[in-house]
Symmetry: C2
Subunit: 524 residues, 2 copies
């Protein structure tokens, strides 16, 4: 079902009831671009930490527009052993609603636009009929302007002289725009918990703080909520009451980190310094497919290839029917890169893999909120192109693999990869991960050669080698000097991440150590 600003208001109750009746949800987003940084290899260094990757995406990817949001709801029909699905494609565009409202600028990346164009993506629908939205702060401002205007027009205010040349005059929201504001559906100011109590907690904390909060949370019998933000907002005109959110239901996405980040950024608020301690029921099918037991069974984990492989033995395709009144997809005719279709396929892939793992796994997935599970299966988002850290953990500390075999090398900007190969030619196979023009990580195949490499570089003038541990320590000192080191609350109530020193490497709560836990099976 296509949802544009033309039918948004009329569609909301359909969307809400689809979510309420669903067993789980699948989502996907289409963006106007991926990276405004110099190039992809700079954005995705193979030895990024999850935090570094997050910071890079925050810096280089948030000025693009999430202009199509796909939602597919899956409801299991026990009697007929089939899933009933409802698919929604939300077209989204920040149409300014008057002269004083925000005039959003967004970046388009030619390669992304060209790719979507080649898939038949309908840009006219986005720009002509996209649903407008505001983030929380913009909505508050608009509401204040509106109230100010209303009190002035009631004669209760005391309007000051406004020069026509002033660019500082208060904004005005005339009465005739109220209907418009009513239709400005994609707002988000009211994120409701299970107990309909207002509560928001998005942060990353150290262990002690985490435990304290978990106790607090249990006391409240409080579960926090979810994606997609923009479906859960209190309506300006109150003609639609605020919905409680997906109520702890599982939300599935494929390689969903950017989808999550964009949804928060665009519809809710400025992204916190680090993700996030609340998205407890997310499941990333790309992570799932790259983890045991699937890792051995599935070669390529792009969404299209994953779907193909999950049609074959030992997997089984689930039986799926489209709910009445919804347009159905033909999986034989691929419509990939329409967000709703991708969400649909993602849900199918999840079901096939979950069924492979057995009833117990599937049952737990369908349960609302289970704390013991969250740290294992959910709330871990796939990280592309990182050698030894498969996921970003949004429910606890990140993995800290040993990187004893990694060297941090700085050199003149004229150097190419071949110069590094030459420099380390005595040490067998190496792997080079460029950081910028004058530095790179070099991974040696054998850790015991690190000291030899360090010794040989002692008198070098044109380049410099540090161990990974020295590099991390140096970076931490820089961070501390910038006031980033210790955990603290910032203005928004986000918690800045506690930076763990290199001495705790390998001591993560899941017993992670390099080369092992990457293959921890994806089971309960």
């Amino acid at each position: 079902m296509e949802v544009t600003r033309t039918n948004f208001k009329d569609s909301l109750s359909t969307v809400y009831s689809a979510i309420e009746e669903a067993d789980f949800l699948a989502i996907d987003g289409e963006f106007s671009g991926i990276s405004d940084g110099p190039n992809v290899s700079a954005l995705t260094n193979g030895l990024d930490t999850p935090e570094e990757r997050y910071m890079k995406l925050k810096k280089h990817s948030m000025d693009f527009l999430l202009f199509q949001f796909g939602l597919c709801t899956f409801t299991y029909d026990q009697a007929e052993s089939k899933y009933v699905i409802k698919t929604f494609n939300f077209y989204i565009f920040p149409k300014p609603f008057n002269r004083t409202s925000p005039d959003t600028k967004f970046i388009c990346q030619s390669s992304s636009i060209d790719f979507l164009a080649s898939q038949g993506f309908d840009f006219n629908k986005v720009f002509r009929h996209g649903i407008p939205y505001l983030n929380q702060e913009e909505e508050v401002q608009l509401r204040e302007q509106y109230e100010e205007r209303r009190s002035q027009s009631n004669g209760s205010g005391n309007p000051s002289y406004i020069s026509p040349n002033s660019n500082k005059g208060p904004g005005s929201i005339p009465e005739e725009h109220r209907e418009y504001i009513g239709r400005t559906g994609v707002l988000c100011d009211d994120i409701m918990g299970f107990q309909k109590e207002r509560y928001i907690q998005i942060s990353k904390v150290d262990d002690e703080e985490r435990k304290r909060r978990e106790r607090q949370k249990q006391e409240r019998e409080q579960v926090t909520f979810l994606l997609p933000f923009f479906l859960y907002k209190k309506r300006w005109d109150s003609s639609l009451s605020p919905l409680s959110p997906t109520q702890g239901k599982l939300v599935v996405g494929h390689n969903m980190l950017l989808d999550v980040m964009h949804t928060i950024h665009q519809f809710y608020c400025v992204l916190p310094e680090y993700l996030l301690y609340c998205f407890l029921r997310l499941l990333d099918t790309k992570l799932m497919a790259t983890t045991q037991p699937f890792k051995e069974l599935i070669n390529i984990t792009s969404l299209a290839e994953l779907q193909k492989q999950l049609k074959e033995s030992p997997f089984k395709s689930p039986k799926v029917v489209t709910a009445e009144g919804f347009p159905s997809y033909d999986t034989a005719q691929e419509q990939l890169h329409e967000a709703g279709y991708d969400a649909f396929i993602t849900g199918l892939c999840f079901i096939s893999m979950a069924n492979y793992l057995g009833t117990a796994f599937y049952t737990v997935c369908m349960k609302r909120y289970n704390a013991t599970l969250t740290s294992r299966v959910f709330a871990r988002l796939f990280l592309m192109r990182i050698i030894d850290i498969p996921y970003l953990n949004i429910s606890g500390p990140d993995l800290q693999p040993k990187r004893d075999h990694v060297l941090y090398v700085t050199f003149p900007k004229e150097w190419k990869t071949s110069d590094l190969y030459q420099l380390f030619s005595a040490f067998g196979n190496i792997q080079v991960s460029w950081i910028d023009d004058t530095s790179a990580f070099v991974s040696l195949s054998q850790t015991d050669q690190v000291q030899i490499a360090m010794n040989t570089s002692r008198y070098a003038e044109s380049y410099r080698i540090q161990t990974y541990a020295e590099y991390v320590q140096g970076r931490q000192q820089v961070r501390e000097s910038q006031g980033h080191s210790t955990q603290s609350w910032d203005e928004d109530g986000w918690v800045k991440p506690h930076y763990t020193s290199p001495s705790t490497v390998g001591a993560g709560p899941t017993g992670y150590s390099y080369g092992h836990n990457r293959y921890t099976p994806f089971t309960l």
Copy 2:
């Protein structure tokens, strides 16, 4: 006629012959946005100098995409006293042609996109079928990569080891892409003069340098040329020979400064520090309509309104027919904001106004290159919302009106326009032109009150007042300390503008002084 990348190559000869046979050309561009600065009033301060305005546009407007370029050629049929027109709409999009070619990012401004969407603009056509382009530098790089690749594949090169992880490896242009490059039509590397001699000169110079160059130019019998750049490029595959450009023909646009800047920026090169000493045959119909004798006859100079008023007495609409094989416009059914249609209307407006001025004027306009004319009528581009400088002069020094009645005021950022009105309440009517949060120009109605205002401010602590002359002097000192002051050649061969000190105010070459020359009639 619509020109996309599908029919670009086949259309070129049609475009070229339309230009060659034309008496004059009209152009217009549609952009993905206007300003990425904070707001329009900051972008267009009423007391900007032309140079300041140019610098602001260069800084805040060039990251948008010129995605539709309209060209309308007008050829007079003497026998039937009518114009034969050919209209072209070029759809433009920087589709990357392989992984190593530039992946252009461009900004979209929601209000601009929304406006074009409401006019039925076809974004799908832009993004799916837009003509790709490169600027001069990008084309050179691509050509070098291509040559390198070719010499390597011929075995004559000495390919070095390329790591698959390297982000520094040389790019490659496989043979199968040559056809694509052939179709990458919107390139520009060969700007040809009248004498088919390569020559480019875009700069702004002081009087002495200007005279030297004029002599040099006359010696060469050299005329430089022109917009639109992207029609005049040497073809990669040489299957189409380079054309000489519009050959000194008049190019008409309505409020065309941004069109000119975007065309240079997008298809040719980084914009120079200041415009430009070569666009000798441009005519801005908005400037024309706001100058005497039209100023008294025409109230509103937006393109649509101008056209309406020029249909009525004392003006006459020209007789116009569409050339065979070209789709015709119905001027009763407005299709404003399609670039080709806007170019067409612009041409109509020009003819009506030129005819009103009489045969002599029109005749001179149609002549190729007439130096005596350029400083009066041509090469002056309309400046929006500047109180006392109607145009940017690209063929000589800009106007420097007296601003003796203007004060430069700095104050706390809490101040609003009403605070300024209050501060200057003793001085009658004032006009406030905001610069930023803490400064503004305040124009008094009577110059003799400036000294009084200065005196009263002497002991003020919260605000500070300077005369306009003091302000200019201070700014010049800042510029000099930054090495901007004296004329010098920069790396690109552009000449930086010579900054004229305030003592020469009012001494411009046309005898301009405040309040007078603004009304200099638009005649020969």
